[in-house]
């Protein structure tokens, strides 16, 4: 059974220095509130796993929480490059960033294999590219039935998965819908899972296309309204596209970035 708790307590109890942390949400339901609490609690040496490494990764990397990033795309969606990520990769600021780089389909099968507790996932393609020379987790294998060469990707099993969802009930059962991304797989691949939600209700009403994560696969459920901003929560609020545009200039400069984080993250106490 998940405990329904505060963000501060959930991060303090379940996210530790050096952990392998998956933060998922494919441009929708991005767990910003939880990422900000990790920054406030100054976690260090995390290995962060995320398919689309976007602004939340840029913020955690720029604040020195991340030693290694496992990812398949890193950018400001539709707008360009991530400046804090670039600064860490190109200049080692504030700390050097190790990369384990995949493509989306490759990291996806690593999560699905992880959720199924299998050693690896398989897919076509991949092995013809330069990525395999820079990622230890990909090998070519032969199909035992046809002899076809396919790529095997080592499963990922995070210490903790963090996602944001629309709602939970008072028992800690979670419901999310809309663009559902790879959150279910990230949660089931992980040893523990924290879910922040927009609201906690007495019971979960059925919604088309919704994913249910039962309380008994989760460690903690946290009420964190607007916890996905500046991304969006389908049915609750829309994406703050202006902020994504503004981030480009905030993150470009180290001092402006630190000042913004101090004012908008470090000095904010969550509800």
């Amino acid at each position: 059974m998940a405990k329904v708790t505060t963000l501060k307590d959930a991060i303090a109890e379940f996210v530790h220095d050096g952990d392998l942390v998956a933060a998922e949400g494919f441009s929708h339901l991005v767990p910003f509130a939880a990422g900000h609490e990790i920054i406030r609690q100054q976690r260090r040496d995390l290995t962060l796993v995320r398919l689309s490494a976007d602004l939340i990764c840029d913020q955690m990397i720029g604040m020195g929480c991340v030693r290694k990033l496992v990812f398949s795309w890193a950018g400001n969606p539709g707008l360009g490059l991530l400046h804090r990520f670039r600064d860490a990769v190109e200049k080692g600021w504030p700390v050097p960033l190790e990369l384990e780089e995949h493509n989306h389909a490759g990291l996806t099968v690593a999560f699905t294999a992880g959720a199924a507790r299998l050693p690896f996932g398989i897919l076509r393609g991949y092995t013809e590219t330069d990525l395999v020379n820079h990622t230890s987790g990909v090998r070519a294998i032969e199909c035992p039935f046809t002899g076809e060469k396919i790529a095997a990707v080592r499963a990922v099993n995070p210490d903790v998965a963090i996602i944001h969802a629309q709602r939970a009930d008072t028992q800690g059962n979670v419901q999310l819908w809309g663009i559902i991304g790879i959150q279910k797989e990230a949660v089931l691949a992980a040893k523990t899972a924290i879910v922040t939600v927009e609201e906690i209700c007495d019971r979960l009403e059925p919604v088309a296309n919704s994913v249910i994560l039962p309380s008994w696969v989760l460690a903690a459920v946290v009420h964190a309204p607007r916890g996905a901003l500046p991304s969006y929560a389908h049915g609750y609020y829309t994406r703050d596209n202006d902020f994504y545009r503004e981030w480009d200039s905030i993150a470009r400069d180290r001092d402006r970035f630190k000042e913004w984080m101090a004012q908008n993250v470090l000095q904010c106490v969550p509800a």
């Binding site: 539709g78 490059l81 780089e101 897919l123 330069d130 790879i182």
Partner: protein, 235 residues
């Protein structure tokens, strides 16, 4: 009305890309120029196109090009939504996509793509976003359209990094100068169309390898009034 000087190089590139969307085709599109071209095509000649986004939105009908591949409008207008594992395994790898639209920072003469780094991987001059869904798109889609501006920095003899291996099916590359297509026998990119007012030497100079030119080189139809006005309303 003469449009020779009345459209920008990016506009004819986007319009030429929009013309590649066949009505009722299933098209895998990313954000940026491919998504603008997709919206343009849907409003003009391809109203029943099936737009597929890697966020899992299938059959989306955005009125305006979305900023991200998972914008709420894509979810709200989609025929249905699937998870990320499903979009890559059942729909892309499963061979359900007719055409994939891609961008890139560098392309070589066989239409392999780089979107990872400029310079060396371990000490990059510019660290770019990386692969995303592109390698699975060239692996799974029947046909690929790549859209990028043509200069010797983007049309290179050797990629700094091979992010996305070429599609086994036909590939069309649409630039601000002309249109290149892979040769059916050699798979080498061949210039098949030049945009109005652009001469072949100019395109050769913007290509870092000795560019093959088709014997039946065409001139791209200039943008029509309707294409231009519709595109400008979208932006």
């Amino acid at each position: 009305m003469n449009h020779a000087a009345e459209y920008t190089p990016d506009e004819i590139m986007t319009i030429a890309a929009a013309r590649k969307f066949r009505d009722r085709a299933t098209c895998f599109v990313g954000v940026g120029l491919p998504s603008i071209a997709a919206c343009l095509a849907r409003q003009l000649h391809a109203p029943d196109i099936v737009l597929v986004y890697e966020s899992g939105a299938i059959g989306a009908r955005p009125a305006k090009p979305p900023l991200s591949i998972a914008d709420e409008e894509l979810a709200e207008t989609a025929d249905f939504i699937v998870s990320v594992p499903e979009i890559f395994s059942y729909w892309l790898q499963g061979g359900r996509i007719d055409i994939g639209f891609l961008g890139a920072a560098q392309i070589d003469r066989f239409a392999n793509l780089n979107s990872t780094v400029i310079g060396r991987y371990d000490s990059p001059k510019v660290r770019m976003p990386g692969a995303g869904g592109a390698p699975q798109i060239t692996t799974g889609a029947r046909e690929i359209v790549v859209v990028l501006r043509q200069t010797t920095r983007s049309f290179v003899s050797e990629l700094d990094f091979l992010t996305t291996a070429r599609c086994k099916g036909p590939t069309t590359v649409i630039t601000d100068l002309g249109i290149l297509e892979t040769h059916p026998a050699t798979a080498e990119l061949t210039l098949t169309s030049r945009h109005p007012g652009i001469d072949v030497d100019q395109i050769r100079e913007a290509t870092a390898w000795p560019l093959k030119v088709s014997d039946s080189l065409r001139e791209t139809d200039p943008p029509t009034d309707l294409e231009l006005s519709t595109l400008r309303e979208l932006q």
